[in-house]
């Protein structure tokens, strides 16, 4: 009887162990990619549950930006030509919004997972004289690639460590739905402003 008991115990341990194993093999990373359906609409990029680190060294998810409309632009801080001008474009949007500037998130995720750590992001934020409505983000290669795919931003890393990338300013509503995109540097942002003002009214 003792032996039978032992068998049962060991058997159930084995069984539990297997169960746990299969569970971790089947969930883990993958399931965490898709948030449970809740308040986030299906098409929202806030369904992405990868974590990012801000210029303030805080760990965030994209869904943390929910509640306000968001202007999002992917950049990297070692960029000589396009990114400072793109950043200036976004700053101009903020200025044009006046008081309403505080009611919008300005989020700049960086392509450069190897160099744009929080400290470097904070330096860029300071150098570009960006206020606290701006958040710069560091993330893994995988998270940034996924975000770029969701935002239809093309980019590739060059041999010298810099990036070729498309210049796209995206406007998201308070739930993370992609509402509007404008390509180009120093583009005409009349439409972008119109969309932002609509979102602020609604």
């Amino acid at each position: 009887m003792k032996k039978f008991f032992l068998l049962t115990v060991i058997g159930s341990i084995l069984f539990t162990a297997c169960n746990n194993n299969s569970k971790s093999a089947f969930t883990g990373e993958i399931e965490s990619n898709v948030a449970p359906v809740g308040t986030i609409p299906e098409q929202s990029i806030y369904n992405l549950t990868d974590t990012f680190t801000t210029d303030q060294n805080q760990t965030v998810r994209l869904s943390d930006f929910a509640g306000k409309p968001t202007v999002m632009v992917m950049i990297f801080t070692h960029c000589d030509y396009a990114c400072p001008r793109l950043t200036a474009d976004v700053k101009e949007l903020e200025e044009k919004l006046g008081k309403n500037g505080d009611k919008v998130n300005f989020v700049l995720p960086s392509f450069d997972s190897e160099r744009d750590f929080p400290k470097q992001l904070a330096k860029y934020k300071h150098d570009m004289k960006l206020d606290d409505n701006f958040t710069l983000l560091h993330g893994s290669d995988d998270a940034m690639r996924t975000l770029s795919v969701l935002l239809n931003v093309q980019y590739q890393k060059n041999q010298d460590g810099n990036f070729s990338h498309s210049n796209v300013i995206s406007v998201l509503d308070a739930s993370g739905n992609l509402i509007f995109q404008k390509e180009g540097i120093q583009a005409n942002h009349e439409e972008t402003m119109k969309k932002l003002n609509e979102l602020l009214k609604g």
Binding site: N33, S44, Y81, Q159
Partner: protein, 261 residues
């Protein structure tokens, strides 16, 4: 009695382990692709070729039978449950149901899974403890010549395939050629997702003039084409450039890669 007990324990343990690793679909063979240099199709002038570290690549594309295992284990990737953000309405549309490829599709069990999005391919790879190959890795591995050179040069083989309409029933994996690495069907069967498929920098509007191009794309004015006669590569890069992550398309599947530790 003690011996019997040990025997039962060992046996049941062995059985449990086997059941876990093997499943009903055998593990896919991965082949080592040795390190080397790859000259990107589009690149900056004066830059060196890209150095590719040795890596592992699946011998064939992921099949319907293999993908079914993934869908069974990950309910969020079932056709009825998948998020539209992650896969468009064509996702696995030829399957009979969520968990059935279907009797009428029996000849497809061992054919590449298609009508799957980049997100789905990436999630499958993660589930397997693998990843999607980069464009550079895929192109580097795909460049290898045919084992049987009587079938012609790689370029002529690829162009010949591109010129043919899609077959009514997608053939099984290993039904085209094998290359010098031992990889099957790198060309000739399907197009394949890559991790950074959205790398190819092109204009959203080809009518845009060069000044606009410079404003739209950082470094775009300095990209040039490696080999202008390589029409096949041009088609492949253009195709990738036209995709979005949630697209599910008739002849687009994938195979997985893995780092060598």
């Amino acid at each position: 009695m003690k011996r019997i007990l040990i025997f039962i324990l060992v046996f049941s343990f062995a059985y449990a382990t086997q059941g876990q690793t093997a499943g009903s679909v055998p593990e896919k063979k991965m082949l080592t692709i040795k390190s080397g240099e790859y000259i990107p199709f589009f690149r900056l002038p004066g830059t060196d070729p890209v150095f590719i570290k040795s890596f592992l690549l699946d011998e064939t594309a992921v099949t319907n039978a293999e993908f079914l295992e993934f869908v069974k284990a990950n309910p969020q990737w079932r056709r009825s449950k998948v998020s539209r953000l992650m896969a468009d309405t064509n996702y696995l549309k030829y399957w009979k149901s969520d968990l059935e490829i279907g009797e009428h599709n029996k000849e497809l069990y061992n054919s590449p899974v298609v009508y799957i999005s980049w997100f789905a391919a990436k999630a499958y790879a993660q589930w397997k403890g693998k990843r999607l190959p980069t464009v550079a890795e895929w192109e580097y591995a795909g460049m290898a010549p045919l084992v049987n050179s009587r079938e012609g040069t790689l370029t002529s083989y690829v162009l010949n395939w591109y010129s043919k309409p899609n077959p009514k029933v997608l053939p099984n994996v290993r039904s085209t050629y094998r290359n010098k690495y031992g990889l099957y069907d790198m060309h000739g069967l399907i197009w394949e997702w890559t991790f950074d498929f959205n790398s190819f920098i092109k204009s959203g509007d080809s009518r845009a003039n060069t000044e606009d191009e410079l404003k739209l794309f950082c470094a775009s004015s300095t990209l040039y084409v490696n080999n202008k006669s390589d029409y096949a590569s041009f088609l492949r890069f253009s195709y990738r450039g036209s995709l979005k992550g949630n697209f599910c398309i008739a002849n687009l599947g994938f195979r997985c890669a893995k780092d060598i530790n």
